[in-house]
């Protein structure tokens, strides 16, 4: 069925699907695909069209305070496909430790272990088009160049795989909106409505049931959707906004009786050029610096702490990338000459590179999005993001770098210089992953989480949340593969709910 334009829906209409999916990003589209050809009548409501539109995008504008972050209307995209319209395709599954409750990491732990979403990784991998599900197993096969010998220690060679949009001439990552639009149109039990902005989640009087959704268009149309069940899939920032702004019955907002919605926001911190690595034996294999193809996968090597090392030293996830070739100053050359000479290594062909990293942050209730008094074109309250990063998180990464430096020397592979020192220094090179995590965190206990292990909002039988906003602890891995897997799991749960 062709996509429906919400601007053509008469004012006052009431639509009654079985399931409303709010948001046509990777989570919403995955859910629609996964529930195709079931008896569940779905209505997917997407705020944007099939292409970028400035007026719709402007609905995302907001304020920020604290640590410098990306403007809220630049860190996400509001049209069909959502974040996959500008993602880099970086993919990697969460590690087992990411699901564990760790006494030394406040607010850590998922309500289930990794095994719970493992069965969904293969299908998620297929949907993001990242080739065979290999990741760290790539190390066991043939690679175009040698692995960096790291010897024994806390860090190991690990791998990203990359989404590659099938048939795309520019080899871009899979943009879900464009890639799956024809497939979505062919789903008989799906209506996909564009330019449809949900402006309110309206509760029934007993506050245990979501009664209906208010929908508005930028052209001024207003109508309601009264679904049996609803899945909120607007992304890690907007999910919280819609819950908080729906405050006509519960003043704190839907699902926010325990003041958790919008808190624990996280992204992956990406301090650029944070260290310099010298490889004594010559140029590092190209797949550390850029993507290459092997074993059917489009991949890039990274260096990361092992789970055992993270447990032992109480460290967070870190995925270190080799960035650019750099020159060494006189001190650097002297250090290389001295260290290599003392260890009896020929470093005459040594090459130096800058390092980047994607860092996991400690969950922090004060890193949060809140409503402001400002309103957007639809009358919705805008958001303010209060961004933080703990000194401990930077210190933990320094420990990872220390171990890498030790391993490089011990294995006579190379050496390392840490290039960032004070907090101001780290923040001056800080970039972010545009990965919006944690604002509707998952926990079995309603006092500690917005949704339960099935992604159902605590206390509301017919409202679910999909996407990385439910991640209670974040990992350093990029979220798309993982949120798609989690959404496939939610789809299975919903099939049971509707049975």
């Amino acid at each position: 069925m062709a996509f429906i334009d919400a601007r053509q829906i008469p004012d006052g209409t009431e639509l009654t699907p079985d399931l409303a999916i709010i948001g046509g990003g990777p989570a919403g589209i995955t859910l629609a695909l996964a529930l195709a050809n079931t008896p569940i009548k779905m209505l997917l409501l997407e705020s944007g069209g099939v292409e970028f539109d400035a007026a719709t995008q402007a609905l995302y504008a907001g304020e920020e305070s604290g640590v410098r972050y990306i403007p809220l209307d630049a860190t996400r995209l509001r049209y069909l496909g959502g974040g996959t319209n500008h993602w880099g395709g970086w993919s990697r599954p969460l590690d087992r430790i990411d699901f564990e409750r760790r006494d030394w990491l406040p607010f850590s732990g998922w309500p289930f272990p990794r095994e719970e979403i493992e069965p969904y990784f293969a299908r998620a991998q297929h949907l993001i088009e990242a080739g065979p599900f290999l990741y760290d197993k790539l190390a066991n096969g043939v690679l175009p160049g040698p692995l960096l010998p790291l010897g024994k220690g806390g860090l190991y060679n690990s791998f990203f795989q990359f989404s590659q949009w099938h048939g795309n001439p520019q080899h871009l990552p899979t943009a879900f909106g464009h890639r799956y639009s024809e497939q979505l149109k062919r789903i008989p039990n799906l209506q996909l409505m564009l330019h449809a902005n949900v402006t309110g989640l309206r509760l029934a009087k007993d506050v245990r049931w979501l009664d209906h959704l208010d929908v508005a268009t930028l052209s001024g149309r207003k109508f309601t959707v009264k679904p049996r069940h609803t899945v909120l899939a607007c992304g890690g920032i907007e999910n919280a906004r819609l819950l908080l702004a729906s405050n006509d019955v519960i003043a704190a907002g839907v699902g926010n009786e325990n003041d958790l919605v919008g808190r624990y926001f996280a992204d992956h911190a990406i301090p650029r050029d944070n260290a310099t690595v010298v490889v004594f034996g010559g140029e590092i294999a190209g797949y550390y610096k850029t993507t290459k193809d092997a074993q059917g996968a489009h991949f890039r090597a990274t260096i990361s702490p092992t789970e055992a090392f993270r447990r032992d030293r109480q460290l967070l996830g870190a995925l270190i990338t080799v960035e650019q070739h750099v020159g060494l100053d006189a001190l650097g050359q002297a250090a290389v000459e001295t260290a290599s000479g003392a260890l009896g290594i020929n470093a005459s062909e040594a090459h130096a590179y800058s390092l980047g990293v994607g860092l996991e942050l400690t969950p922090d209730p004060d890193r949060r999005v809140m409503l402001t008094s400002a309103r957007d074109a639809l009358g919705m309250p805008r958001l303010k993001l209060s961004m933080t990063i703990a000194d401990d998180d930077l210190a933990r990464y320094r420990e990872v770098l220390n171990e890498l430096g030790r391993q490089l020397l011990a294995s006579k592979t190379g050496m390392l210089r840490i290039d960032r020192h004070s907090r101001a220094d780290w923040l001056s090179v800080m970039d972010w992953g545009n990965h919006h995590l944690g604002t509707t965190r998952m926990h079995d206990d309603a006092k500690q989480g917005v949704v339960d292990a099935n992604s159902q909002v605590h206390g509301l039988a017919n409202l679910f949340v999909a996407g990385s906003s439910v991640f209670p602890t974040y990992s350093a891995s990029n979220p798309t593969l993982n949120l798609v897997a989690l959404t496939l799991r939610l789809a299975d749960h919903l099939k049971g709910v509707f049975r």
């Binding site: 006189a330 001190l331 650097g332 050359q333 002297a334 250090a335 000459e337 001295t338 260290a339 000479g341 003392a342 260890l343 009896g344 770098l401 220390n402 171990e403 430096g405 030790r406 020397l409 011990a410 050496m415 390392l416 210089r417 840490i418 290039d419 020192h421």
Partner: protein
């Protein structure tokens, strides 16, 4: 030529080569202009004292409390006549690394570099 005479010639040749080698090392040492120091037994372990001095100076910038005599005592105890590379590998295995000019290096190597910078 009988076996004894051949042995004498071979021995003499080795002695001449060794003397020449020592002479070259002595000349190289003098040519770089290093005056004798109380730590020459330690400094001679460094592959090249000039770059080591640079590393040592970088370390001393952030570690003004470095006392050469005390450090030398600790280094001798730590090295205990073993080859430097063995000492360094042991330290790396134990995680005894420190920063010099933000480069991560084995502790003993940095100590030797700092001594070189102070000498």
């Amino acid at each position: 030529m009988n076996r004894t005479r051949r042995n004498v010639i071979a021995g003499a040749s080795i002695a001449v080569l060794a003397a020449a080698g020592l002479g070259y090392e002595g000349w190289r040492h003098l040519a770089k202009g290093y005056p004798p120091t109380p730590y020459d037994d330690l400094l001679s372990l460094l592959p090249d004292r000039e770059p080591a001095k640079q590393v040592g100076r970088a370390f001393l910038t952030a570690n003004s409390g470095f006392v050469p005599a005390r450090a030398a005592g600790a280094l001798r105890q730590r090295i205990a006549g073993r080859p430097l590379s063995t000492v360094l590998q042991d330290e790396l295995a134990q995680g005894d690394i420190i920063e010099a000019g933000h480069w991560l290096l084995p502790q003993t190597l940095v100590g030797l570099c700092a001594l070189a910078a102070k000498s």
